[in-house]
């Protein structure tokens, strides 16, 4: 029997999982999730240029770099975005900053831009202002996704309980809930910036958890049914099933993980939000592999062992009750003879 499938390891896994989920829930409840650039409240300095589209690329770059340089003298620029007005040809350069901006700074920046000697840039065409924005919460997105996933858990349990065994259904359900909760908790604990796509990542984790657990449970079902393992202890059969399916589970997980890592690396170059999302997805892959190869099999081995013990107890020939039965029958016989 594999050491990883022992009772001790199981309780350790469950304790760690529970601790992570509780810590994550507390942090998410108190601080909320760390919002990514799309959902973050922000203070931004906006430079509007009415003639931006008509300027050469070099002038556009010069204007952007000049503004960034001037703003960075006072504030830390955390993000730069560019918005184009297709109907007027104007554009807005938005510099998200850390700190409190005031009208005086905007006026001084406007004057500096106008006096910077950038070709064609005058105070008539360029306006500098600042905005403070607060993100509106997404009630429907959150609760409907949560309800959807809860119903998915129930479907997973019912199907597995009917087609496989009740114990397997219960373990697959627990694994799916565990995986999704642990990933969401890790995102909260590590303060990984996340947006609405996190709901998609939660769904991704549930689907992946179901797929990987099905690989392992499929083999377990087959092995438990075969004559070869009929007299083997439950742990041995579970352990062998895990060994047999480890390759397939890892092949699927590694394939996904490679794609996720490459996307995360690309995100580090083009936009940090993608990296953050991919870190969450990578946690999903790791947690589901762990749960399908360690947590679920050890939990199922324990359940199976208990149920086998109960079945064996029921199947035992009960001599005591037979004696009692005999005693009860004897006086009745005597009466009949008399």
């Amino acid at each position: 029997m594999s050491k990883l499938l022992s009772k001790k390891v199981l309780f350790l896994c469950l304790a760690i999982g529970l601790a992570v989920i509780i810590a994550g829930a507390v942090l998410a409840g108190v601080l909320g999730y760390n919002a990514d650039s799309t959902m973050k409240d922000y203070t931004a300095v906006e430079v509007s240029d009415l003639a931006y589209a008509s300027r050469s690329e070099a002038v556009q770059d010069q204007l952007r770099d000049f503004c960034r340089g001037e703003i960075e003298k006072e504030y830390k620029v955390t993000q730069y975005e560019y918005f184009e007005n297709n109907s007027t040809g104007g554009a807005t350069l938005r510099f998200t900053v850390n700190g409190t901006v005031d009208a005086a700074f905007c006026d001084s920046l406007e004057a500096a831009v106008a006096g910077a000697g950038i070709e064609g840039v005058t105070s008539d065409l360029v306006t500098v202002t600042y905005h403070i924005a607060e993100n509106a919460p997404y009630y429907d997105f959150v609760w409907r996704t949560a309800v959807g996933l809860c119903v998915a858990f129930v479907i997973l349990f019912v199907y597995m309980a009917i087609r496989y065994r009740l114990g397997m259904g219960a373990v697959a359900l627990l694994a799916a809930v565990h995986d999704a909760a642990v990933v969401l908790a890790l995102v909260a604990i590590l303060r990984i910036p996340s947006g609405v796509a996190l709901a998609g990542v939660a769904a991704f984790v549930v689907f992946l958890s179901a797929a990987l657990n099905l690989f392992v449970f499929g083999r377990m079902r087959k092995n438990f049914r075969s004559e070869e393992f009929k007299n083997s202890p439950a742990e041995d059969t579970v352990s062998l099933s895990v060994r047999e399916m480890k390759g397939t589970v890892l092949a699927v997980a590694v394939g996904i993980a490679v794609a996720v890592i490459l996307l995360g690396v690309a995100g580090a170059v083009i936009g940090f939000d993608m990296t953050c999302l991919m870190i969450a997805a990578l946690f999903g892959v790791l947690v589901t592999v762990y749960s399908s190869l360690i947590l679920s099999p050890s939990l199922y081995a324990l359940i199976r062992k208990k149920s086998d013990a109960i079945r064996a107890e029921k199947a035992k020939y009960n001599y005591v009750s037979d004696k009692k039965k005999d005693k009860a029958e004897k006086p009745a016989e005597t009466v009949t003879e008399a």
Binding site: T38, G148, L149, A197, V201, G218, V252, A253, G255, G271
Partner: protein, 487 residues
């Protein structure tokens, strides 16, 4: 399968797959001066994280931008001392963060209570409308306390962005009127709600369901309208929110309508455009979402992907590289079976691309990309699982044909079970969830169905097709018979 038949099939399948691959992934190019070839991948609807989108700031009446204020100041400076002198904007507007508030909205140093309440209602209604519109991702922000900043994905292909933004700014209640004395103001007591229905060739229609009370009131209204129309017997009914027409030019009524629902069709060629109207109708039925405030949504800006410049292209390239690496690995490891897998996987991938590109209502965001990667991995996993079973069966001493048959048989139950479970899970999430999880589930559901077909039938068919060709079929499948010493 005979050799000739196999060759013909291989050529046919290869040509079809290459053709589909060409129209799926080839970069766009001009066929002639006026016509441009566009690949299927490039017509995917993308979420704002991969494809960018449009943003707007809703300015309530009496609230102006810093640019507008600067314009007023310039105009004042220019006309100062002349007979056309305009009012000094400094006396008319108060600066508040990055915006300027008209004195009409002010009560001393603060804004009036009426304006504050109306703006809160407007903000709540706008939030609800954009949430119900069910974009993959969107942003609504309260900017500078008294304006609303909104970002949505690029939906230009399905509806006009300017009319969407304008319509979501409509305030007031829902009214059915003939423009004269006959009108019915709708509320939750009279109208249950609105929904989009398929109108066949006519595009889409909006269905408005009445309550019992509403049905009776609407019947009376249409009866009065027809009576008031006089000899022509045809009245025009306008459906308005506040002063804004939801249906341009109104709808013709030529008889008293006593029914539970009415259908409005004709102007909605896409589901999305009809959904926009439905969102507004459903929103204004609640009194909490009615506001008496005019919102300007004229300044619409476009922005790039929020995940970074060229995010869509880079993601497509990375997924492509991963697929290529996986195909090479399968060829090296399984040789002939790997070749069948390559063809099977290409069939799966191209079918998925066709579905995403051509079916309505599928938007690919980063969550959608995760779904594509996941369903592809599941498909690959089950193919490799079948190959492993074939190998195991072959090593028990069976012939190759028997091993293939038996290997597929052994993997059949698990493959079917897994695909059914994954399909059911994604269906449930698709039906209940909204936003990125819903679109992700839809893509995963399609991927699961195609994966099931390709794993259970298509790859197996390709394997038989290729096995008809080689002389040494066992070596072709990268299998080796263990040597046994004869006695």
């Amino acid at each position: 399968m005979g050799k000739k038949k196999s060759v013909a099939l291989i050529i046919l399948v290869t040509v079809v797959l290459l053709g589909l691959l060409f129209i799926s992934v080839t970069p766009a190019f001009y066929v002639n001066a006026t016509q441009r070839f566009t690949s299927l991948i490039s017509i995917f609807d993308l979420g704002s994280d991969l494809g960018g989108g449009y943003s707007v700031v809703y300015y309530p009446e009496g609230v102006i931008t810093a640019e507008e204020y600067a314009g007023l100041v310039a105009q004042y400076e220019e006309t100062k001392g002349t007979e056309d002198e305009t009012a000094d904007p400094a006396g008319q507007y108060t600066a508040h963060k990055g915006i300027y508030l008209s004195e009409e909205l002010m009560d001393g140093e603060n804004v009036t209570e009426t304006f504050r309440t109306e703006f809160e209602n407007a903000f709540r209604a706008i939030c609800e409308r954009f949430e119900n519109k069910n974009f993959t991702d969107y942003t609504v922000k309260l900017q500078d306390d008294y304006t609303v900043y909104v970002e949505i994905p690029n939906v230009e292909r399905n509806e006009t962005v300017s009319s969407l933004f304008a319509m979501f700014a409509y305030g007031g209640s829902l009214t059915f009127t003939d423009g004269a004395s006959n009108e019915m103001i709708a509320s939750r007591e009279t109208v249950k709600g609105a929904s989009v229905v398929d109108a066949g060739d006519g595009g889409y229609a909006i269905k408005i369901d009445f309550t019992k009370e509403g049905r009776s009131a609407f019947s009376t209204l249409t009866g009065d309208m027809v009576s008031a129309a006089g000899d022509s017997g045809t009245a025009t009914m306008y459906i308005r929110v506040g002063d804004n027409d939801l249906v341009s030019n109104g709808i013709q009524v030529n008889e008293q309508l006593d029914q539970n629902s009415i259908y409005i069709s004709g102007s909605y060629t896409t589901r999305e455009s009809a959904e926009t109207v439905v969102c507004v109708i459903n929103s204004v039925l609640s009194e909490d979402n009615q506001f008496n405030l005019s919102l300007d949504a004229s300044q619409i800006y476009s922005y790039g992907p929020t995940m970074g410049e060229n995010a869509g292209l880079i993601v497509a390239c990375i997924v492509g590289v991963c697929i290529l690496a996986m195909l090479v690995y399968s060829l090296v490891r399984y040789k002939g079976m790997g070749l069948a897998h390559v063809y099977g996987f290409l069939t799966y991938a191209l079918a998925l691309v066709l579905c995403i590109a051509l079916l309505d209502g599928i938007t690919v965001s980063m969550a959608g990309v995760a779904a594509i990667v996941l369903s592809a991995a599941v498909m690959v996993g089950f193919n490799f699982f079948a190959f492993k079973n074939i190998r195991d069966e072959f090593y028990t001493g069976k012939t190759l044909t028997a091993a293939i048959k038996s290997g597929y048989k052994k993997s059949l139950a698990l493959t079917i079970d897994s695909h059914i479970v994954l399909f059911l899970l994604s269906l449930v999430v698709y039906l209940i969830a909204v936003g990125s999880a819903q679109y992700m589930a839809l893509i995963f559901m399609l991927g699961t169905v195609i994966s099931a077909a390709c794993t259970l039938a298509v790859t197996r068919f390709y394997l038989y097709m290729f096995l008809a060709q080689p002389k040494n079929k066992i070596a072709f499948c990268n299998l080796k018979r263990e040597e046994t010493e004869d006695e």
